[in-house]
Subunit: 480 residues, 2 copies
């Protein structure tokens, strides 16, 4: 497909270079995978910081100017304080006649241990049947290395980099992107001032065969529902029958949040959800997504909805409420006869346009307080709103998406699907709000890459053709 007749001479040269140097690109990814940059573990914090510095070195070697922004330290529950990995800012080119693209990605990875069920050492990249296995292969070291690869491609082929490139790479994404939002806001009038486009390089295709571009994310509102019944945990034999148990109240409340058909029961929460348009529905119909395979992958006999459109719509453009668990209750194996003194139910609502997290938060609190009042309980209720994120939806009728579509066509010979994601990447909206420019999510990995699972991988094809897509993307951006 990369030999498509209409391909410009530059892209032909770049694609040929990428094909010829694929082993070298895979070697670079192997070097990155080898660094145990697990941000969630104390013992790998040094590795995570090293990863950022190693990557900075890679960029400096290629002529980028770099800056490591200190975002301070964090205290662990055991009282120990550890430095946070710095955020890496980098820049290549400062030509006022060119457009400027800012790319976001992350250098840290999820925990991984061969004992968790990996078939091979998670920190040794290994190729089997065209798949490159290793922690971070697809999330997010593969995509991030692809950005270095295209710099190599342009520089080695002597083709002038057609745009100015800026990078923001962090080392805390898998641990809540601590400090990143504040940094983006702080850099709004400096590093980000003259940016024309934003590209988030941290998601996946909807399937395995057809590329996509992502233009929407759900937000999230997370709640803690705390009920206290006693000054201490009580023995159910000694006290059971005389005490208003906190668990009984909590379960009464939590069972009234959502029914088992997925309908959210909190009054008003659905009021601001935009109605489904005919064109949206038609688009869902045409998307390359097999809901039968999806059902099988989950391992359930039946999904909440029967059609592809309904399933996509309920994952992307309708809110959903999930109950995650209870803190403070007995959660171990075996049989313990405790009446827990304080229990904290945890649930979250995925938010969609035009839901507002503050309004939803108030509706949830009001509803739970009303329902609790009906129980006439002597216990104490406290509903706590955790940090919420807004939904994000982008206009796709602009130069950023146009360039990305052309890039995918130039490599794969097909138009990408336009997709949304059900999850949240809060910095997406921050980038958009701070710069006022178009943000795109441009994935290169496949849906079955197992980002947070055992045996994470990226297909060789996705990594190499994805590198071509990025090379082509900046080429087309420059033609806008």
């Amino acid at each position: 497909m990369s030999s498509c007749e209409s391909l410009s001479q530059e892209l032909q040269t770049l694609f040929a270079f990428i094909d010829q140097n694929s082993e070298q690109f895979i070697d670079l990814l192997a070097k990155a995978v080898k660094i145990k940059s697990i941000s969630a573990q104390k013992d790998t914090r040094d590795d995570t910081i090293f990863m950022v510095k190693w990557f900075e070195q890679q960029l400096q070697t290629r002529g980028l100017t770099t800056e490591l922004v200190d975002i301070g330290s964090e205290q662990w529950p055991d009282g120990q304080t550890l430095p946070l990995p710095p955020v890496l800012l980098a820049q290549l080119g400062n030509d006022p006649t060119k457009k400027t693209l800012c790319v976001y990605g992350h250098l840290d990875v999820q925990p991984a241990d061969i004992a968790d069920g990996w078939n091979t050492d998670p920190f040794v990249l290994i190729e089997l049947d065209g798949k490159l296995y290793g922690r971070g292969a697809t999330d997010d070291k593969g995509p991030v290395m692809a950005w270095i690869n295209i710099i190599d491609a342009y520089q080695s082929t002597g083709i002038d980099l057609p745009i100015n490139l800026k990078f923001i790479f962090e080392g805390m994404e898998e641990s809540g992107s601590v400090g990143l939002n504040e940094l983006i806001i702080a850099k709004g009038s400096t590093f980000l001032a003259n940016v024309d486009y934003i590209c988030i390089s941290d998601n996946y295709w909807l399937g395995n065969t057809k590329p996509c571009l992502t233009y929407g994310l759900r937000g999230n509102a997370y709640f803690f529902v705390e009920v206290k019944c006693a000054a201490k945990d009580l023995h159910s034999g000694v006290y059971g029958g005389s005490v208003h148990e906190a668990m009984t109240d909590l379960l009464a409340l939590m069972s009234k949040l959502v029914d088992n058909k997925g309908n959210i029961l909190i009054p008003g929460v659905l009021d601001d959800v935009l109605p489904l348009t005919a064109s949206e529905e038609a688009m869902y119909e045409s998307i390359d997504f097999n809901h039968h395979s999806y059902r099988e992958e989950i391992g359930t006999k039946r999904l909440l909805f029967e059609t592809k459109s309904e399933i996509l719509a309920h994952r992307w453009r309708y809110p959903s409420l999930s109950i995650h668990g209870i803190e403070g209750a007995f959660s171990g194996a075996g049989a313990k006869t405790v009446i827990p003194r304080k229990v904290i139910g945890k649930f979250s609502i995925r938010l969609v346009p035009n839901q507002n997290p503050d309004k939803v938060g108030q509706q949830v609190i009001q509803y739970l307080e009303n329902e609790f009042a009906k129980l006439d309980s002597p216990n104490r209720l406290s509903v706590i709103r955790r940090k919420a994120s807004k939904p994000w939806i982008a206009n796709t009728d602009n130069d950023n998406f146009k360039a990305a579509k052309l890039a995918i066509s130039s490599v794969f010979g097909v138009e990408p699907d336009l997709t949304r994601e059900g999850g949240s990447i809060p910095v997406t909206l921050t980038f958009e709000e701070v710069t006022g420019k178009s943000v795109i999510l441009l994935p290169i990995g496949g849906c079955d890459d197992g980002a947070h699972s055992q045996n994470e991988k990226i297909d060789r094809k996705n990594y190499i053709e994805g590198t071509k897509v990025l090379a082509s993307y900046i080429f087309h951006l420059s033609k806008n």
Copy 2:
């Protein structure tokens, strides 16, 4: 009170000896407390075995014949196998013209660490304001040592031991009395064959001021309600809205078990509960129990019932259902956005006469399966019955209770309250069923001793006067 005029010469002598030797009795308890016989911890298993052997030595020194019964080993979740502490059988006297009393107690203790909030080292017995603080002081080393003390008293004063004494002391009570039930059954035709009375020495007064005798215990039926929705844990952003979540089904089921007034909602479960009789109610009225202090101790604004009688009745003679927690759901601190693939709700029902655990088990399973069918869920439900114990209630109009009442009157000058307990001591019923003889629970500690808590204690008065009660109890048993 111990100088009550009607006291026999023997009891006056015994009581005087006990008063004169109270420091020596406290020293013995201090030696026992010093041994870290925590059965629930691997690293103290050797101490627990040592405790049994140390105690055997104490008994041998006093002329008892002893036997350590090997009850095998247990495997820990990590695969390690540890020997179980042996059960200590002991006997003093074998006179066919005397009655034989068998006493049960335990030599192991709950875990304790000064870091948990103890004011002093839990394994160093210390007296402050008439209270003897230390792990096991009241549960159950204090009561067990009191049995040695009375042997000393009889032997030192030259008063012939009026009955034959048999002891069964175990080292696994705080870890489920592993192997004990089987041992009691196995010894039915040998060690336990010629026993006339059983005394369980392992519970507490209802209050702090008035002694009691305990004639009833609730049983327990424990259930695991497992719901599976997927082959793996799912991200609530990616999958939420498309999947029948296991937590939603589980909460729907668990919220239908009991209402927040304590009413069990499972049809048929209450059918066999014996109706409250007028005499029972009158007895509750006269019991020395302050439900206001009880409410304050729990730390709640309001109990489920307003009167003393209702509260006692619902702790002792009515069933109660407590929801303990959920295994498999998110239970940590913080906010995790998981849809758990498999969740196991845990609850138990305290059983009372004439409820039958098997019948209740069938009713619970039938009810949950019916309710689950109404949900029309594709998820898989599995309700698992855990080992259940029957309720126990004793006839108090017999020589065993008569002797214990006289013993308490002889020491405290008051008639004891007749109480039940809401918890379960399954071996109680086993002793009764195997021997066909009267079983009594004869407590010496107070209700505020904090058996499983920090700063466990027994009052000096309870320990010393309790020793007198036991000395008097066997004296009166011999007069039957």
